[in-house]
């Protein structure tokens, strides 16, 4: 389920080229949704003074996450190798339960549907879903 076909990679790159200009907004919206729809995710942000979904900290975090996603697109041919350091960070420092990668991925997809309803076709959806799943797996690589 995590092998990206040539078509998947092409689709992801083409879609990302279209949307990456809005990557900060996408990230902010996805994190905000996650905090509202899955309140258990707030447990990772107890160090934020303001845990509200549209706080500066949340927006900044959305930007950080989406920069990671954008970087992963450039490393789409070898996510495991390309995301090695990020995986170490998540495994040893952040220790985010990988179930949350699925949650954030879902919210990224919802934001894509909201912001790009015509471009986010079923074909784009399936390739992006696979990509985010592969990315999540690469992020969890160093966990144990």
């Amino acid at each position: 389920m995590t092998t990206l076909t040539a078509k998947d990679k092409q689709t992801v790159k083409a879609f990302w080229a279209k949307v990456s200009g809005k990557s900060e907004d996408i990230g902010a919206a996805a994190v905000a949704r996650m905090l509202v729809v899955y309140p258990q995710t707030k447990t990772y942000f107890s160090h934020w003074q303001d845990q509200s979904p549209n706080s500066p900290a949340a927006r900044k975090h959305g930007k950080t996450v989406m920069m990671g996603v954008g970087d992963a697109v450039t490393k789409i041919d070898d996510l495991k190798e390309g995301l090695k350091e990020l995986s170490q960070l998540h495994a040893f420092t952040l220790r985010v339960d990988p179930a949350n990668f699925k949650i954030l991925s879902h919210n990224i997809l919802v934001v894509m549907a909201v912001m790009f309803p015509t471009d986010f076709t079923p074909d784009v959806h399936v390739s992006l879903d696979k990509f985010l799943a592969a990315l999540s797996l690469a992020l969890a690589e160093k966990y144990r």
Binding site: R33, V36, V37, A113, V114, P117, P122, V126
Partner: protein
């Protein structure tokens, strides 16, 4: 999606019904009064068959499901998508007893259709995506939470009669 416990053994005194806030009730009624069933239903089912292709196993008699274009243009898929959405109507009109509302449909999906209940979640996710695309910015985080909670209750009720 987070699990929603739709418990409630009617015999026990402390049965726990799903509790809906006014916002949640209003949101669900509002969404379903605004979406076009014969657009959203077909779009959601078609998306499910493309994004999770193993779900095609239940639609062997539907003819050409070869690619996204074929699925989208398939009249049997469209018709069934609309049927599914009208099926959701029952829950929309009976939010305080979705479990019993779907008891018969649950038996049907288990005994006759033999649908793995995990598939309900997949279709629910596709429905969320399609409704998000329809409503755009009005599909706020709060609206999404209410919609996903509603679908989680539906999904749980549909899986209840499996044994």
């Amino acid at each position: 999606m987070p699990e929603n416990s739709v418990s409630a053994d009617l015999q026990t005194e402390s049965h726990k019904m799903v509790e809906w806030t006014d916002f949640e009730r209003d949101t669900i009624q509002d969404i379903f009064s605004r979406i076009e069933y014969d657009v959203v239903g077909p779009a959601a089912l078609a998306r499910c068959l493309v994004v999770y292709p193993w779900t095609q196993r239940y639609f062997g008699g539907f003819g050409n499901l070869y690619n996204a274009a074929a699925i989208k243009g398939n009249p049997m898929v469209s018709k069934h998508g609309t049927t599914i959405l009208h099926g959701l109507d029952r829950a929309v009109k009976n939010m305080d007893d979705i479990k019993n509302t779907y008891a018969e449909l649950s038996v049907l999906h288990s005994e006759k259709l033999h649908v793995d209940p995990d598939n309900f979640k997949l279709l629910a996710d596709c429905l969320t995506i399609v409704v998000a695309a329809q409503l755009g910015n009005e599909f706020t985080g709060e609206v999404q939470a209410a919609f996903q909670k509603f679908l989680a209750v539906v999904v749980s009720s549909l899986g209840r009669q499996y044994h």
